[in-house]
């Protein structure tokens, strides 16, 4: 194995942001690859500045480098100018630590955090010098694995990836290392052997060991063809985050990246039960990190990295039961003697949370972001995002009163059961937020950011139809009209065409593989970047494969239909998801199950787990601040609290 650096270096004078390709981050580990060690290349299939901060990848990077039987390096997708230079010079995909060729590794493992990167996965395999299809690779090639949220419906990539990992990776990467190490040391040429061994590891899905059959134009079944492959692959769940205080050596990049700050994960999982949210569904149960460990990680992390900002990460950090103690500790200097700014990447919509955010934001108070998601209370009951208008106005009032100048509101359109009045409710809510702001400022700014809803696998909305591009465009037009002339209100929207393609990858079955390959062959990489996105390539590829957006994306699924991901499990009972879907259709909401009795979704009980909380007292603000009595349990329609109706 020789370093490719002498061949990479001459390319860097002619490309944008060359620092993306040099490695050398503080905390990077340039291991010597010893015999008998399994060499992993961890790949984030997007640009360096998006991929580097990914905490999941960094956790596995450390764990694999700590083990005696493995080493790990990293790679990211070279931007289009660098890719062209590499191809012209015959330089393959390389790692950043030792600048080794990707093909020199035993395992190439992709992080799949978003669907639109799928064509990049194929491109990177090709750039690594591998055949993109698993069937065309031989024993000398690295194994190709993938993990991350998208693996809960990995079928569109089933033809290209040897094995997918479902759920938390901390434990399973070690088990995979042992399987691959044993296979390598046995000198076997038979790739099938290692794939069977991997299929027997809990949480690992080897798609080539399953037969997909169709009948009457629909999916009939997906069944294992090997006795070692389980009929249903269950996700892996780390029971106790306290046992995994990682990353311990967070990478500090040499150049600008997103989220360039210390990140400390305070809990994993979420039990809010927002029905559109795949992350919240597939990461249950809630596992909080002990308060003292959070503080230790902040203290050690700040001292080590020199960062002056720490983000407390989770899906809903204001719900961390020790949030107040933690914030107080950081602000009082218990975690280091230099001034530190704390950021909460996800704010709960209530005045209490704004108070906390104000207290800890040492830097300029530019803007706060809230996510009511739905424009009317009915809509928010459908999606189980139980924010009342009073919650929102209270939060916005507190924000402007505390010196914030701009409030950003996230909404979804194209939600199940949505009517035009729900869409227009977005404009009305946003307009009223501007009015609330005028109490405090002459010219407050409210930005309403609108995304098209994409139903995701393993959620109650997996049976829902997705709005067509035309319908989303019509709704955006409605909003544009309603927001016109409202001073201080800015409307932003996500490209409906990109949502349609995301829908293909989200709920597509194995037939989508050929579509993805065609788009890639037509040059369709970096599809999550608006300057590269090209709907025409997707339409042409669907046509050529006899598929359509209508069938894959815009069609509602029937209750008895076999779904492409039914043989994979995030721990959630299909019964639970179905009844939650039915509740959604009748606008019946459910409460956060951390503080109320169990709905038996399956995430805890089947896995022998429990929610792990740092404190047994619900955080101030309670369950979404809906004014509900937390001691009351069970599934109840949530009372309509707000007196300000929106028609």
């Amino acid at each position: 194995m020789r370093s490719l650096w002498p061949r990479v270096e001459p390319l860097l004078d002619g490309v944008s942001k060359p620092a993306r390709y040099i490695g050398g981050e503080f905390g990077a580990i340039a291991s010597v690859h010893g015999p008998g060690q399994v060499a992993w290349l961890l790949v984030y299939p997007d640009t360096y500045e998006i991929g580097l901060p990914n905490q999941g990848l960094q956790i596995l990077y450390e764990l694999l480098n700590e083990r005696a039987d493995s080493v790990a390096e990293r790679a990211y997708a070279p931007w289009v100018d660098m890719e062209a230079a590499m191809r012209a010079a015959g330089v393959p995909l390389f790692s950043l630590e030792n600048h080794l060729s990707a093909a020199d590794f035993d395992v190439i493992a992709f992080n799949l955090s978003a669907e639109l990167v799928y064509t990049n996965v194929l491109n990177l395999l090709d750039l690594a010098g591998l055949a993109v299809r698993t069937a065309d690779r031989h024993s000398g090639h690295p194994l190709v694995l993938a993990g991350g949220h998208c693996t809960f419906n990995p079928e569109p990539l089933a033809d290209f990836v040897d094995a997918f990992v479902l759920g938390d990776g901390e434990e399973v990467v070690g088990e995979i290392t042992e399987v691959v190490g044993t296979w390598r040391s046995g000198g076997s040429e038979d790739r099938g052997e290692v794939l069977e061994a991997l299929a027997s590891v809990a949480g690992v899905y080897v798609p080539s060991l399953y037969r997909v059959s169709r009948a009457d134009g629909a999916l009939a079944e997906v069944v294992p063809v090997s006795p070692v492959a389980p009929p249903r692959v269950e996700k892996r769940t780390v029971a106790d985050l306290a046992a995994w205080p990682y990353p311990k050596r967070q990478l500090v990049p040499l150049t600008e990246v997103v989220h360039d700050r210390l990140n400390v994960e305070v809990f994993r999982g979420c039990t809010r039960g927002c029905r559109f949210c795949q992350a919240g569904m597939i990461t249950r149960p809630v596992r909080e990190r002990p308060e003292h460990q959070v503080q230790e990680m902040i203290q050690a992390g700040l001292a080590r990295t020199g960062y002056d900002e720490v983000a407390l990460t989770s899906l809903s950090t204001a719900d961390f039961s020790s949030i107040e103690e933690t914030v107080r500790a950081v602000m009082s200097g218990a975690c280091g003697d230099q001034p530190v700014s704390v950021s909460l990447p996800s704010l709960r919509v209530d005045a209490f949370t704004v108070g906390t955010a104000t207290e800890i934001a040492r830097a300029r108070r530019t803007g706060l972001t809230f996510a009511p998601e739905g424009g009317t209370w009915r809509m928010r009951r459908v999606i189980n995002k139980l924010i009342t208008e009073d919650d929102l106005y209270g939060a916005v009032d507190a924000a402007f009163a505390n010196g914030w100048r701009r409030v950003k509101l996230y909404f979804l359109i194209g939600l199940p059961t949505e009517r035009d009045e729900d869409v227009l409710g977005i404009a009305e809510l946003a307009r009223r937020c501007v009015e609330v702001g005028r109490r405090h400022h002459r010219s407050p700014t409210v930005v309403a950011s609108v995304g098209g809803f994409v139903p995701k696998a393993q959620t109650p909305f997996q049976w829902s139809a997705q709005d067509t591009v035309a319908e989303l465009a019509r709704k955006i037009h409605l909003l544009k009209d309603a927001c016109r002339g409202v001073r201080g209100l800015t409307l932003r929207w996500h490209d409906p065409e990109a949502s349609a393609v995301e829908g293909l990858a989200s709920r597509g079955d194995r037939r989508l593989g050929a579509v993805i390959e065609r788009v890639w062959r037509a040059g369709g990489t970096f599809q999550e970047w608006s300057e590269c996105f090209d709907l025409a390539k997707w339409e042409a590829a669907l046509d050529a494969e006899g598929l359509s957006f209508d069938e894959v994306v815009h069609r509602p699924r029937a209750g008895d239909e076999v779904l492409a991901w039914d043989h994979l499990s995030a721990g959630l009972h299909r019964d639970f998801l179905w009844s939650d879907w039915q509740d959604a259709l009748s606008a019946v909401a459910v409460e956060d199950c951390r503080w109320t009795p169990c709905y038996d979704c399956g995430a805890c009980t089947d896995a022998g787990l429990e929610h792990v909380v740092a404190s047994n007292v619900a955080p101030a603000g309670g369950s979404q601040g809906t004014g509900q009595d937390l001691s009351r349990g069970d599934r109840v329609p949530v009372r309509f609290v707000s007196s300000i109706g929106v028609r």
Partner: protein
Amino acid sequence: MADRLRIRFVKLGKVRFTSHRDVARMWERALRRSGLPVASSNGFNPRPLLAFGLALPTGAESLAEYLDVTLVPVEVSRPENPDELGCLAATLSEALPEGIDVVALSRVAGGADSLQQEVTLCSWDLEVRGVTASELARSVERLLDAPSVSVRRERKGRIFDDDLRPAVRSLAVSHHPEESSCGAPTWLRAELTTRPRGVRPRELVEALGADVMLGRARRTQQWIEHGGERWEPLSAGLGLDVAMAAHAWERAS
């Protein structure tokens, strides 16, 4: 006396592909980790008071980058003697990425001008490819003899024709391989002024001919000039530790 530290550092090897802003961020973090009592700006968004010298083009190396650090104006124990300063240099180098190393530092008077204002001349070593040494020597002669050398630049979306000749104080072929070793690089040594408008090494080399390409560019000195004399911005302080610089170079390449 307000407290300022002037630091000379090198930028060598892979890290040369980071930008001027990247280097500023590296320094902010390294200084925080070092625990040095750096003063901050006032206001909503306090930043450490750091003043960098002339920006180095991304991709260029340097043996002579400078940074002024303002320290908090209170009487606390702080490095005074050469030993302590040397110790601080080692601490900072340790906290900085590979390829960026402190080679000298010194206290400077609070009232001194900023590096940006003081430095008016830089020395460069420029690796040149695409021409033979003799061709290059002729091109250099032509450029030096020309009353003006036009270079096209974009500023604020508009195209300007600038004359780069006034910025070229001196230019010479400094090292060339045997004529027989075809394709090997030749090196130029250049002294380029920073005022009224500086010239980038790439612009200079491209002005030497259509086939002339810049390889590595390495800033070797920055100069403060006054009354016909020139001196290195730290010459009143510890001075450049040559052995340290050589070691840093070795480590990075």
